[in-house]
Symmetry: D3
């Protein structure tokens, strides 16, 4: 990845829009199994579609569920973002699910890995796969130094809306509440100090760029569903001859 | 419909993005079976999703194929846009496929019609369904007066790219080639003179508004796939800190 | 088949409801590609599901379309009902699409045929497959003797609603209009005189039984969608403590 | 909801039968992810189809699985029925998964919520969503008072077959075993005393009405699969000219 | 099953290839939800397709997840292979999920069971369903005698690749590492001594036959994906006029 | 393509097996919409999966249907094989459907073309797309010189089974009937004399190699379904300890 990687984010369960995003100039594309309108079978086709583009396929799993993490990897994901990591033990379990023994507990059966990754998939997988733990609760925030120190974890990913909720605020991707700003600063600083990736979900490309300047190395300029929502609203507005939104 | 109806245009085969577009403020949404990455089974789910929004569901069929036109109507479409109408006989056959006997030849079996349209579907369908014939060839252009005069046809729909190709030009939705400008003018003028709808595919909302001012009563501010492509490119560009595209 | 065969009729695109109907005591099950909310890929799974039941799988195609007729057969249909047969030439073309040369023009590639039908599929297919031409227009009605005389056609199938429409009446499966009653009588009498099957779509099981007593040898006690609609309405009514509908 | 709400129950994985049930006069429709032949991607389309009808969409999840509960809500469910709730701690965890912090732990990302529920979804969701805990084990029965007392739980839902099994009897929805009758009475009485909803799965509409008269406020007149099974059997029987089943 | 049962193994998410394998002469077919590119909705269709063949349908679940085990059974699986069983308590929980109370905790709602298994499904299910616990870790290996002694467990299934990984070796289905050979010998011997089935995943039919001669009673001659991979490579090689691989 | 191109052939409707075949060393992969258990929506995902492999994606359409040919191209096919071409006029219509005006009549809207092919798709498409007309009837055979002479047609493709049927023989891919041998020789000789591709469906890789030595430049070593059928039968046979088939 480049200094700052930009990831597309997929909530629409379509292999075609997945390919559109993969061809858009992003570095990677994350299929969102948590809040996206996407289930596993659809994800498999989407990962295949992303494989035909220059972007690296990733998955945000809906929970720290080892079986689902392994299946996402077998289906060809090269990175996993895991929500709601609150402690070292949870982060350790997450990382273990992504690594073959003896370092981890991943079960062997890399279906698409062998097609997309090639015959040396088994040898290369552990070093190639990116693992990011989401920090979005008070407990996760409190444990961020210890989580960042875990061997095999590549970085953390901030979910600003859930973090805001956890801190008693309204969900927002770009809150200016001092407490939230401080919490996000803490995340990026700790991650950088540990030599780990710091990722974050943003509300737009401009916001993603601002986050990159704050030190984030992995930024998401909103989901394709939200980008489409704004863009179609703007076009409809223009079609009605109204002033820009 | 309002004075000028604005239609969303679906190329992505997803019920979720269909619903997003249906909730975007458009008057209707057209599922594009011709160039969209969408087949009939997916269309059925998309028409259901559109039914949950304020927008009217329509379908652009891939050809003047009576069986497929009837199936789209049974699946709940309230408007049909038919490509490549070159003559009165083709337009007449198209209209017949959308009307029950004695006015037409539609076969009876309005599956979703009875759910979405209600128990009086049979009585109301012919008067409610919108039928638009695409003018996109030299023959179609030559016959536009006669086509517009057909009873039961609600209007014409201009496919500017195919029309440009047919006139020996590069495909474009907003060509300034005089021959194409004249051809499009002719379409809108003839349709209005006949008291029929004049529809057109546009390259953006602003372009759709310009077309509305030209007299078009049904405008499409590009497909959701193209709108998403432009919007994600702009966001990625901003995320990289580059000047706006 | 027995003296009078009873066919389930599928409008709901689900492999599970297909299997439910196949296990319900019917002799065969017809997947309705014309008015059903079902496309070809879904049909394939439904034919597989029906194959696991005692019932014979059939397909009502949406039009006299040779490619689609052949694909339905390759997918394992053992009977084809073809709508809108108006003439001997149409009926002949329909039959030809279901038979291998030299008797017909079916292309060779019986994918599921070899699995479901067995290794002798090629030798047995032409003799085993049932072909029924729908009589539902004035022209079809006029030509019914000639259509019934066609070699290889196993019978005719009456679509009462479309026939009623064609005769200028309201669509209905059990019309008492003398003209429609006479037309239906004519169909069953001609078919029996020719030693061919006479099939008809009915509004209920009781109606199907009445049709059987009129001489029909293949009866459909309504679609599963309509049966479900009536049954759920009755249960909801009972749940509200109201008198039976 | 009315005094007694009637819910459809979906086991067939089809968006079309979902819409049929939603249009049948029921107050709400529950997609059964536990015993239904339905997975998450199909459920999303079914919830969209239900959204186009007057009925409120609900989901019976297959287990007390927070990620799946959240995804069902994001997909537009307005009620969740959770099986196998045996204790206050399980019921509390279930409720927490349906509520945003600080009252609960639901993660923020209400994809279809914003479309179907509108822009104020976040503010309204917690007050609008209905949560019912299934009482179907001896432990659950023993803890029913404490479970009913939980803040945020809207009611309990009795699974009579599993409850019968748990009490050593044959699974049945309308058992007359005194022990089961007593257990069900206890559930409805405790729920009413706590001012909570009492729901139950019934074997028919008439049975649902009887349950309503017993005090149940949420009744299910069997699944659409079972209703279809009975109805098709009755029609086939009638078609064969046999006496009613 | 015969003395030694041969099971097909499905990784490709297609109902058609499922049917091909079911017709291939195998005794049973296992849908692999763990490493296969298959999710639950697709599995349902595949189980239906297998039901139309002489082979018994089975499922390898992705984890010891009671809800998913129950759903696989409701969908018509007649055998469950459960991965990563490390202890008596895990094996007991697995078995419980497959049995109705009082012997187990399976929830009642046998959707396809009643269609495929028949009206006596409830009475026969517990005795008919085959349960196999996978031994593929050091803990599982250590506990194999105790696991084999569990009432209701029909046998064990060795995952040689994961077992090799667990023992610090390269994943392989036919390792000649003495430690692995000894571990596999131990599994088959313990299972036979307990009168239980001993199953194993093999690299080919010849290998499966060798395993049968070692005493295994349930053998898998590789997945259909791997068999296809080898076969297509051989055909392409031959097409290029090269010597056999 | 190389001197002799080898094409995989897909009858199984799975994106995963499509990717397996695309990674098998073939030059291209043909999705068979005619006899394959595959419909258009599934084809779109399969073309995306093939796009992630080194192989060129192609489609065999089910009929000379312009709308379907155009949709296959929009979905990313880079070659079309069209069945049942009997005359110059049919071949000309086929070719026209694949070319933009003024050379043809293809409608503009290259959805995946712009993603997979790149921004210059419109300029390059006509020169890049491969068009092969199937010769499988007596009329087609009689017209083969004239068909091969058509501008824009890249070659012919022999369907030996249908050709055998058309000549009154049993369907076979490697018949030794002199009449069929002569017909096939004629096809390859005419095509080569015209400087066109000569393609043929073969029964195995060895057979494909023999066909290449006969002069065919495009050979198909059977479908993946047939290859899998033979391979699984061989493995099951070996697993039973029987002598090789």
């Amino acid at each position: 990845m480049r200094e700052t990687a930009i990831s597309g984010w997929l909530s629409i369960g379509s292999t075609y829009s997945a390919e559109i995003i993969g061809c858009s100039g992003v570095d990677c594309v994350t299929v969102d199994l948590q809040h996206g309108m996407i289930d596993v079978q659809t994800m498999i086709g989407m990962l295949q579609a992303i494989s035909s583009t220059p972007a690296t396929p990733m998955v945000r799993v809906p929970a720290n569920d080892a079986a689902l993490i392994m299946k996402s990897l077998d289906a060809g994901a090269y990175g996993i973002i895991c929500p709601m990591i609150d402690s070292v033990s949870e982060a350790t379990a997450f990382v273990a699910a992504t690594r073959y023994p003896p370092k981890g507990s991943r079960s062997f059966g890399p279906a698409r890995g062998l097609l997309y990754g090639g015959a040396d998939y088994f040898d290369q997988a552990d070093a190639t796969i990116v693992r990011m733990a989401m920090i979005e609760t008070q407990q996760g925030l409190a444990a961020v130094e210890d989580i960042c120190a875990i061997d095999g974890l590549d970085g953390i990913f901030v979910g600003p809306s859930d973090l805001a909720l956890a801190l008693g605020k309204t969900p927002s991707n770009n809150s200016i509440e001092p407490e939230i700003v401080a919490a996000i600063d803490r995340c990026v600083n700790v991650a950088r100090a540990c030599g780990k990736q710091a990722g974050i979900f943003c509300s737009s490309g401009a916001h993603a760029n601002a986050r990159a300047r704050e030190g984030f190395s992995f930024v998401v300029p909103n989901s394709e569903a939200n980008i489409l929502k704004s863009a179609i609203a703007a076009e409809v507005n223009a079609a009605r001859g109204r002033r820009p939104l």
